[in-house]
Every structure is written in C-alpha cells, then in structure tokens.
C-alpha cells in the first residue's frame, strides 16, 4: 500500500532549479510541473508517516518558502 499526495512548493526566486534537482534525488517524489518559482510536486510514501516525513523535510529546506499540501489520497495499492 502507498499514499499519494500533491504539494505546491514555493521556492526562493533564484533557487527553483536547485530545488528541482534536489527533489529529483528524493525517492517517491516527482516534480510534475513548474511555474516561475512555484513547483507542483507529487509525493508518495509507503505510509502516511513516511509521506509526511518527506513533506516535512521539503518544507524545512532553506530555499523552500512554503510547501502546501493541496491533495492527499487514502491508501492505494502500490
């Protein structure tokens, strides 16, 4: 089972590329679209806890101004 969510990430204006690269290295994370300094990001986790941990980690990066959860699924089969 896994859990799928989407977050809207607002980054420092000059740091979008750097954050995209960093997101790309994270397991279970996919940047689906970018617009200026905002990123639409999917996060999957094996459990809600894991998904929340990834969300919290991203929100804590210095270049991330905001990481808002805009969609969260129930449990789905992997």
């Amino acid at each position: 089972m896994s859990r799928i969510g989407a977050i809207l990430v607002r980054v420092r204006e000059d740091a979008a590329e750097q954050v995209i690269l960093r997101l790309g290295r994270m397991p279970g994370v996919e940047v689906v679209e970018t617009h200026k300094h905002k990123l639409a990001v999917l996060i999957e986790g094996d459990s809600p806890k894991e998904q929340e941990k990834r969300h919290r980690e991203i929100a804590g990066w210095p270049d991330v101004m905001e990481a808002l959860m805009v969609f969260q699924s129930g449990e789905v089969e992997a």
């Binding site: 799928i4 809207l8 204006e13 000059d14 929100a59 101004m65 969609f71």
Partner: protein, 770 residues
Amino acid sequence: MSLTRRQFIRNTAAAAAVAALYGSGTAAAVKALDGSLTWGKAPCRYCGTGCGVLVGVRNGKVEAVAGDPDCSVNKGLLCVKGYHLPAMLRGKDRLTHPMLRKGDSFQQISWDEALDLVARKYSQALQQHGPDSVAMYGSGQWTIPEGYAALKWFKGGLGSNNIDPNARLCMASAVVGLVSTFGADEPMGCYDDLDKADVYVLWGNNMSEMHPVLFSRILARKRKAAHVKIIDITTRRTPTSRYADTVMLMKPQGDLAIANGIARWLLVNDRVDHEFVESFCTFRAGKTNIGYGTEDHFKFKDKARPLSFREYRELLEPYTPEKVEELSGVPAAQLVALARLFGSSHMRIMSLWCMGMNQHVRGTWINNLVYAIHLLTGKIGIPGSTPFSLTGQPSACGTVREVGTLAHALPGGRVVANAQHRAEAEKIWKVEPGTINPVPGTHAMAMFRALDRGDIKVMWVQVTNPWITIPNLNRYREGKRKNRDSSFIVVSDIYPTPTTELADLVLPSAGWVEKEGVFGNSERRTQQWDKLADPPGEARPDVWQTVEVARRMGYKELFPWSQQLEKNLFEEYRLFTLGKGKDLAPYETYRKVPGLRWPVVDGKETPYRYVAPWDPYAAKGKRIDFYSAGKTDHRAVIWARPWEPPAEEPDSEYPFWLCTGRVLEHWHTGSMTQRVPQLHRAMPGSYCEIHRDDANRLGIVPGSSVKLTSRRGSIVLPVAIDKRGSAAPGLVFVPFFDENLPINELTLDAFCPLSKEPDYKKCAVKVERA
C-alpha cells in the same frame, strides 16, 4: 486503455497541484467572482499582522473585500474585523469638513483657512517660545509617506524633535530590547517560523484574539504534528489558553522571574549551546533599581558593564525554581518543564509576545531576558526557532520604527544625537548642516506632561485617539482643559472621538484605501496600496495636510513635488535604507506584489535576517552574523536583568490587580470598529472580568455591575465571570476599546525607564458592588 486506481489518483493529485500552481484559488480567481467590481490590493487597516486584502470598488466606494490568497501572510484568510472592513469607512458620522472650535461648539471653515491657521499657530509658538513649545503626536497607523513627511517637516524644517507616536505606548520596549541586544531594531525571524516550530511560547500574548490569522497558522501546524506544544504564560485565562498544552498562570511582573529562572536552569544543568554563545554572544549588566518614571521631568540613562560568564551565572543564582515560584506564582515544576524544552537540542522554539511584555515597567528588561534564553540555547536564526515580537498597529514597524517618527530618531535606524546621522539626513534632505536639533525631543508621556504644564503651545494629533489611550487619563484631560486658552490642539481623524472633542481644530482625513499608502508589518514586510475609493466630503489624506501646512510655513523646498507625493516621499525615504541592511525596493515594485520583507537586495526579499544565505549582509560561512551589533563586535548581548517589583501593587485599600487590553472585535479605541454594526453588536461595550471566587466573596453576581476605583479614578462596569476570558484570583481585566467607559482613567502613568513605554497591565484597584 484503462487506468489503474493508482494511476487515476496520481493523475488527480497532479491535476490538483497544477491547478494550484496556475491560480485556482488565487487573487485572480477571487476577483473573477464579481466582475462588476474593480479590484485592487491593500494590507488590512487594523493590526500589525499585515494581512493582504483584495478590495472590490464600485463607483468610488468599497463594496467588497476578500483575503488575498496570494499574500503569504494570511493566504486568503482574514479575521472578523478584516471581513467587515468596508463598513468601517461608511459610518454616518464621518468627518467631512474642517471644523474650528468656537466656545463649546465647532464651526465649519475652509481648508485654506484651516491650513493657514495651523501654519500660523506653529510659526507663532516657534517664534515666541522656541522649538520645545511645538509637538506632533503621530501613530503606528500613519502610512510610511505620512510619517516620513511629518518627521521631515519637524526635524528638517522646524528644528524640533518633539514628534512621537502612539507606538510609544505599544512597541517602544520591543525597540529598545532589540537595539540593546542586537544593535538594530526589528525582528530577525518571520511568519514562516510559525509553520515550522515545535514549541510556541506565548509570553503574555493572547494571539487568538489579537493576531487571530497568525494564531491560525500555529493551530494548523499543531494539527499536522502531534508533538507540537503551545505554552501560554499569562496573568488571565484567555481564548488562547484553551488551545494551550500548558497554561502558566503568573502574578503580574512574574515574567521577569520566569525568564531568569529558565536561564538559571539552563546554566545549572549545562543546557547552554556553548559554541553558539562563545562565537556570537557577549554578556552585560545594566543599572538596577531604575524607578518608574512617574515623576515629571524624569530622566534615565542606562549604563552597561561587561560581565564574564561566571559573573552572569552568579547574578542568576537567586532564581531557583522555588524562588521563581514565590515571585511569579508559577509552580516550580512548570518552570522546570519549560526550561527543559528550551534545553532540548532538537526542539525548535518560537517565543511570541506583544503588549504583555512591552507595556511593562521593565518592558525592555523582559525583552532582553527572552532574547537571552534564545541566545543561550542557540534557538535563534533557525527556521522555526526564533524570538519574535509581534506588533499591534499596521505600521508601527514600517512608519514608526523604520522611518523613525520617534523623538530621538531619524530614518533608517539613525538617531538625532549622532552627528554623522544628522549629517546624512541633512544631505538627503538638502538642508543646511546644523538644521537638525541634536537633542532628543519629548517622548509621548513627557509630551502630555509638558502639555499639562502648559509648556507645549501647539500640538497636532494625527491618526490616533490619545484622550482615551493615555494612562492616568484624568490628569492629561484636565491638563488640556486648564490650558485651553494657552494651547492649540489640532486633531486629524476620520470620525469624531473624545480627542476631537478636546481639539481646537478638527481636520477630516481620508481613511485606509481612500488614500495611497504604504505600511510595514511585524515581519519587516513593506506593503503598498493605491487610492481605490473616494473620501467623503472634503476629507483629505493626512500627508497632504502636513505638506500643505509645511509649505505655508515656507518649507516648500522640503516637499518640491507637484505630483505623486506618496511615491516621491517613499523614494526619498528609501535612500536612508540602502546599504544599511534595511534596503527597500523601488516604489513601483511594491505596486506589483503583496509585500516584500527587507532588506530587499537585487530584487530579493530576506525572510531570515542575520543568517546566510538568506540575508545578503550576513557573512558567508558563519552560522549567524549579528552584523548590526558593531559596538560589540557582531555579538548579541545576553543581558542580566533582575526581577524588580512593579510601580504599584495591591494593598489593603486597593486589593486587586487591574490589567487592561483588547478584544477580538474591536481595534484599539473602537473609533472605527464600533461603527461597524456587526462588530458593535458582537461586543457593544466594555466589561470587568473577575474571578468567580472573588465575585462570590464580594457578593457580585453575573449580570450586575461593579465599581472599580484606583488612586486616579473610578468607573462602573458590567461584570463578566467565566465568559470569554477568566481572570486569575485577585485580578480584574477591563478592555480599553469603549470610549464611554474609559478604563485609562484608572491606569497608572508609570513607564519603563529605558523605553518610556507605559505599563497598562498592572496597577492596584478596589472592586465594589455598584
């Protein structure tokens, strides 16, 4: 091709994120809801939060508002006052014409007559009595151009420093606390911290009512993370207490003991971040037994002496948990539990405060002490870990603290007593060297005492209502009455108030979006708005009034602009900020965004000050750089400040503490919010909150009234028992918004000797059945 459930959910999630990315739920979407309105943006008119507001206008009138989803402060939310902003401008008794006192009534006069009269009165007073005989009492609700114009006229024109704002009554302790600790005013953290902390320590701070939108961010964080804690240090249970994990109910003035007790516990238990302290801090002590400023002509200057770590520890030694319990009433176990949180290396802690710590006879000290706890533990300059002073007024930061509309200040953190600072200001203002008076003027309390003595002959009050808000009100109201013939008071406002009632000349002002302006909020965010609606009658912006009077007095060269006055004033003010760690963006930039946090360098705002990589002024490669603290080699000061008793305590004759404050529905003296029908109905009048046991003992029942008496006055109020808040035993709480029940007739005009900010939170009263 069929989709699996997983693919479907992934696609749905992606669609939701992309929709959010491109503006579903953005300002554009809100504006599209009613295409018949013309929409603009503005910060809210009321508190220092700085919520972004979308303003819908039709035929020159504000018809609708919505929270601005694009503004990161409030993300589309507003509080109950914000949602009713349009009605604030529509009161039936708006002031619409200049009115001159004739005996006991007022007579309508023209703007030309009014402005000529003000100019003449100032000129006469200056000529006959010198620069100390004139004054201007301004506001943290002044826009930046309004405050800057007034400051420039007074200090660059009249040669008088007698300009001080009502923010002296709410923010001065925060200012002196910051300057004495970090070498510069304004907080280093920002609202982003609200979404990231693990523990929120509220020092006498009823955020649920006073900063509800920011408190909602804390609650959102708490909902997401089970470990998050709210600690409420308070003298009364408030709506905020209901959300707290721990309520530390303290005696008034107990915060000084609590802060010292935490610091001592950290040292005794070796929970100090020694590397941080050794790298970035230094220790100081100042004078003690410093008085309360109640006497006329009170003077005080602190003298700092360096301390070693060992000396600092010795000064903290008396503050054992047991001693703190005795001084503060807070159980020793609660104190230790809070100290442990500060001492745990993995906890991100945000301290928040506003009037509870600032309106305090030792307001500067308690600010110093809270900074000391964060510095000792290194819980500073990390997202989610910061001490953060909240503001009460929409531009107490932007206009008062940054522009410097204080008796001792000049723009951009400069002071009149510094020759280099004066020279820099004189150069920007293109005035003769020596124009600026090097002697600080009278601070707010001294100003009203000078008026009482008859020393001030002319005073102009703008955007504030002092004859409700000044403590020991009877004294200062009588002061004006007895000097009616020898003093001349001008009051600019949008509505009649008890202050306009005492005025000799009343000038009708444009309010909020009826004029162009700029505010600066608690997190160093500068927010611009354009004129969106028409003021009623002949009401005009305060900045226009000030500049017209200055021009009539011969100071045309100070205000040479024939158009775009606000923009030109801002651009000139901006010169004071560049290269000083306070850099503002060009005016046109602010037109496009819901605000930017200074310093703004190369178009980028700075959420976290003193910390690389966010702050371009901070040295790279260092964990933190307190670059404003030049006098202490870029080290923040950890101050040793003792507990000292308040100016007045309950005794056998006046056995209760009186604490005053605000309520959710009304802003300050209610001159705007009392005219909003919904807000007035929700909270029509003031009340006296008393503990149930005290009420029972005195035979006071719900629905009855009580008579409160202090050494300075007496008032009868309806009683409130276990309603919105709950007073601690031995304490009564009364809000100050009701001009018909002015509680400041009872309060004491004692103040912090360093900041000169009065203490509205503690004096002694007796309570009787009415």
